[in-house]
């Protein structure tokens, strides 16, 4: 429980990783607790919207290849 690191602002990679795992619905406890202290709501929302766009685009691409 007791994490010692100071809550610095998360890097874009860390935000992307957190959002990726949130799309899958699984997260390691340690990584989750790190997210909890370093991610800001704005970061999560922006990354979530970008992640949703990427998901939709990748599904569209997949469908395009299947139907072409």
């Amino acid at each position: 429980m007791g994490e010692a690191q100071k809550p610095g602002r998360a890097t874009p990679l860390q935000v992307a990783r957190a959002v990726f795992w949130s799309f899958f619905g699984v997260r390691k406890r340690a990584a989750y607790e790190k997210d909890a202290v370093s991610l800001t709501p704005l970061q999560v929302i922006v990354a979530g919207v970008i992640g949703a766009v990427i998901l939709v685009l990748s599904l569209v691409t997949l469908v395009y290849f299947i139907t072409s």
């Binding site: 899958f24 619905g25 699984v26 997260r27 406890r29 909890a36 949703a52 998901l55 939709v56 469908v63």
Partner: protein, 527 residues
Amino acid sequence: MYAAHAHDQAHGDHAHSPGGIMRWITTTNHKDIGTLYLWFSFTMLMVGGVLAIGIRAELFQPGLQFWRPEFFNELTTMHGLIMVFGAIMPAFVGFANWQIPMMIGAPDMAFARMNNWSFWLLPPAACLLVGSFFVPGGATAAGWTLYAPLSTQMGPGMDLAIFALHIMGASSIMGAINIITTILNMRAPGMDLMKMPLFVWTWLITAYLLIAVMPVLAGAVTMVLTDRHFGTNFFNAAGGGDPVLFQHIFWFFGHPEVYIMILPAFGIISQVIPAFARKPLFGYASMVYALASIAILSFIVWAHHMFTVGMPAAGQLFFMFATMLIAVPTGVKVFNWIATMWKGSMTFEAPMLFACGFIFVFSMGGFTGLMLAIPPVDIQVQDTYYVVAHFHYVLVAGSLFAIFAGAYFWIPKWTGHMYDETLGKWHFWLSLIFFNITFFPMHFLGLAGMPRRIPDYALQFADFNMVASFGGFGFGLTQLIFLAAVIKCIRGGEKAPDKPWEGADTLEWTLPSPPPYHSFETPPVVK
């Protein structure tokens, strides 16, 4: 997990409101308003249930027995609208009102007066809905989805339904704003977001979904209203509009709405199972992430309700894939609930029975949902009883069973008395048995091609329909056991301790039973 909260009960138990009926009309207290919501939703459950019994009575035998076909369509439409907007949604808001302040260590909801207004909008809306049966032409018979052009052609009952939806939507949005503000601003010191009970998390996400999609529904029904009365042609093909546009808008609301009705249920189950397995919830973090995932995905799957409307193969594939992805986070949740039970010291009181029943039966509804996500299958069973079976497995065995689990779980806290365990167990087992007698045969009926929303049917469907009707009457009557259990619990019974459930560890159990008027006047300390 939490430091014990030494609350001075005598100090906390002072109400400033008037007595009698005015107490309920003027109340700004979250517990009073929660109680109002719960009684309102139970009343609407009974009203919607009577309509369902009307449907099942007609379908007991082939041929027309009781109702004109138009009235049968009114019954199915109003059963859906009343159950969705009058029973299930307000019930969860009732739980939110009672539980969220107590679970986060707050004295009350953030906007207490708006809370009162949110509730008191509902009875007029319910009157509009129920009253629409008595206007010329009767209630709307367009189906709960209110598809155009049916909805642009109905009598004044349709207008009443539109206004009712406007009012209920406004109520939901205000409730959602209140819940979000309460959760984000009024948590006890030390309770960061990641320490919140899962029920609170589910409501935080549900409230955002509500704010996102209720205006979409309001927009759709307002366009229907202007098409009907003000010469617009949004959904009128003859005037250059497109009736399919209505379906897109409706389901862009409608699919997140499905999650609005199930996420708080997930929250309740996630509180009940750890308490009766006497173990912390397995994978709390995964549960939160899975919730976020389900909420996001709910916005990109709406057209799976419209496969038969006509759409390019690419569109069908996109919505099929997106829909199937939802099985992943949902599977994570079911896995985590079962893993929570694994090697737990389980006991099976009524809340746990309903939670286990929920997992069992809801999962079946989830699997039939997956089948419906496959366009070639969906095209075969679209608008058949297979779909009716699917969504009743999700909404009755899912949402309603979770509501019962939550009611038995928290009613000792709310009333200060233990409920009658025997009644609770009877209620569970009869509900589970009659539920499956009612809805399981509908899978077969649907696969054999029986269409929904039709009062008559071919002879080969007769036996399963008779079984389903028998189950439906039984399920309806069984709910009177719940009413009896609740009334008995309110009137008296064994005194409930502060924490009647050994494994429960959230903040509300540190308060006396029943809790003081203002839940936490001094914020508790969360370690």
